[in-house]
């Protein structure tokens, strides 16, 4: 068991003028741990995710990340270049809309290969072989490698986006509603795939979702947000089976039974 967390977040807040994005959020994330952040639209979960992934700078608070050399670095004190490097190599970001995370006009293989080149890989044959391997891991047929993602279905695009993110062997992946907008059968396949990859690779992940079933399936820990604040947190099954906060009880009782 690793002794230190991967990410330490302390009193993180983001204000948009006088409006609250997220307020005083603190938590530790450990290697191999999947944390779900749930709440309705406008609860601040996406603001939090964007602050953590440094796509947005917080108004106050700190987040330190344990680099591969074991040293903690304060994310908001890094230079822009350092943050971009982290984003390209050690982190992944899976967007709800694959078009935001893919380059739609280059081939599927190039979408995966590009991330490899960003970390210094130059050997064409090796890059292509790795791309083929990753496409098969996300269940995309090998004969689609030269097609552009524009020609892919929504579910395939999302799987391609996942391959593009995971090919560099990141240690931390941010996911924003990774199954949003997909049919349920496609969702199930994607969830199963994500669950397997996260376990096999020992990834840590922060998954923002409004779907409690997705949170139950993917995460061990959960934070419930409302109006920018964390109203409840704990083990995922504890929060869902014994919700304590009024808002969590409302969320859980609103799930439709099939």
């Amino acid at each position: 068991m690793t002794e230190e967390p991967l990410l330490r977040v302390s009193a993180l807040s983001k204000f948009y003028g006088s409006r609250v994005g997220c307020d005083n959020v603190s938590f530790d994330l450990w290697p191999g741990e999947v944390l779900a952040v749930v709440g309705e639209s406008g609860s601040g979960k996406t603001t939090l995710l964007n602050c953590l992934s440094t796509r947005l700078l917080p108004s106050s608070g700190t987040a330190s990340y344990r680099m591969r050399d074991g040293q903690f670095r304060e994310l908001y004190r890094m230079s822009e270049a350092e943050r971009r490097f982290l984003m390209r190599t050690d982190w992944g970001f899976v967007h709800q809309n694959p078009a935001d995370g893919l380059r739609m006009t280059v081939s599927a293989g190039a979408n995966v290969g590009e991330r490899l080149m960003a970390v210094g890989d130059r050997h064409y044959g090796k890059i292509r072989a790795t791309a083929v391997d990753w496409l098969s891991r996300v269940e995309i047929e090998q004969d689609r490698i030269d097609d552009e993602p524009r020609a892919f279905s929504g579910g395939m695009r999302q799987r391609l986006q996942i391959a593009r993110n995971l090919v560099t062997g990141p240690r931390l992946v941010f996911m924003d509603e990774p199954t949003g907008g997909l049919d349920v059968s496609v969702q199930a396949r994607l969830l199963d795939l994500l669950r397997g990859l996260v376990t096999d690779l020992g990834l840590a992940a922060i998954v923002v979702t409004h779907d409690l079933a997705v949170a139950r399936l993917l995460s061990q820990r959960m934070m419930v947000m409302k109006d920018g604040r964390v109203v409840e947190s704990g083990l995922t099954d504890r929060v869902l089976d014994d919700p304590r906060a009024p808002y969590t009880q409302l969320l859980v009782s609103s799930i439709l039974q099939v």
Binding site: R221, L235, D237, D241, D242
Partner: protein, 235 residues
Amino acid sequence: MPTPLVVSDVAKSFTMHLRDGIKLPVVSGVSFSIKAGECTVLGGPSGAGKSSILKMLYGNYAVDEGQIIVTHEDGLIDLAHASPRTVLAIRRQTIGYVSQFLRTVPRVSALDVVAEPLVERGEERETARGKARTLLAQLNLPEKLWMLPPATFSGGEQQRVNIARGFITEHPILLLDEPTASLDATNRDVVIELIAAKKTAGVALLGIFHDHDVREAVADRIIDVTAFAPGKLAA
């Protein structure tokens, strides 16, 4: 051998915020311990709080008051106040749980559902699958079902998958929530044998069994949960 689990003065209530914050007390003053090599049974009518106690001991329900001291990796830990990460470690290494119903995951085969807790403890996948096969065969689950996801199985079939999943590891503590509820006589007997084997191996078992015959066959001690009814202490 140390006592693997001691429960002292545990209380639990539910506050229903959607119903004007009405408070439903479940149990209070819950105190008992379980011993290695014994099967302790929680007795009492439905609604007395048996399942709630079991769920608190697994960290699935929050604890309002009291302590749950678990012997975990040569130390003592209060599960009632442990961090989520510690609770997960306790579940992986120390406390196993057979729930009443199987929670299935899309596209994962019955065999892998059963093997998973062993893999999480660091066992090779193929070795774990081998053990899973042995258990599923022992529980008379037809071999043609092993590679299928259990979502479409019957109640009894799902329960056998669940039992195999709970019994495959060597957790020193095993919690059983009505593991025989939807089983036929033959498979009930298999479960009784499995429990006997766990006792011999020195596992501390704590269970709920509504089936009278099973309870007679496995119980070393019965704890009457009505003694922990909230009114008794508050009065």
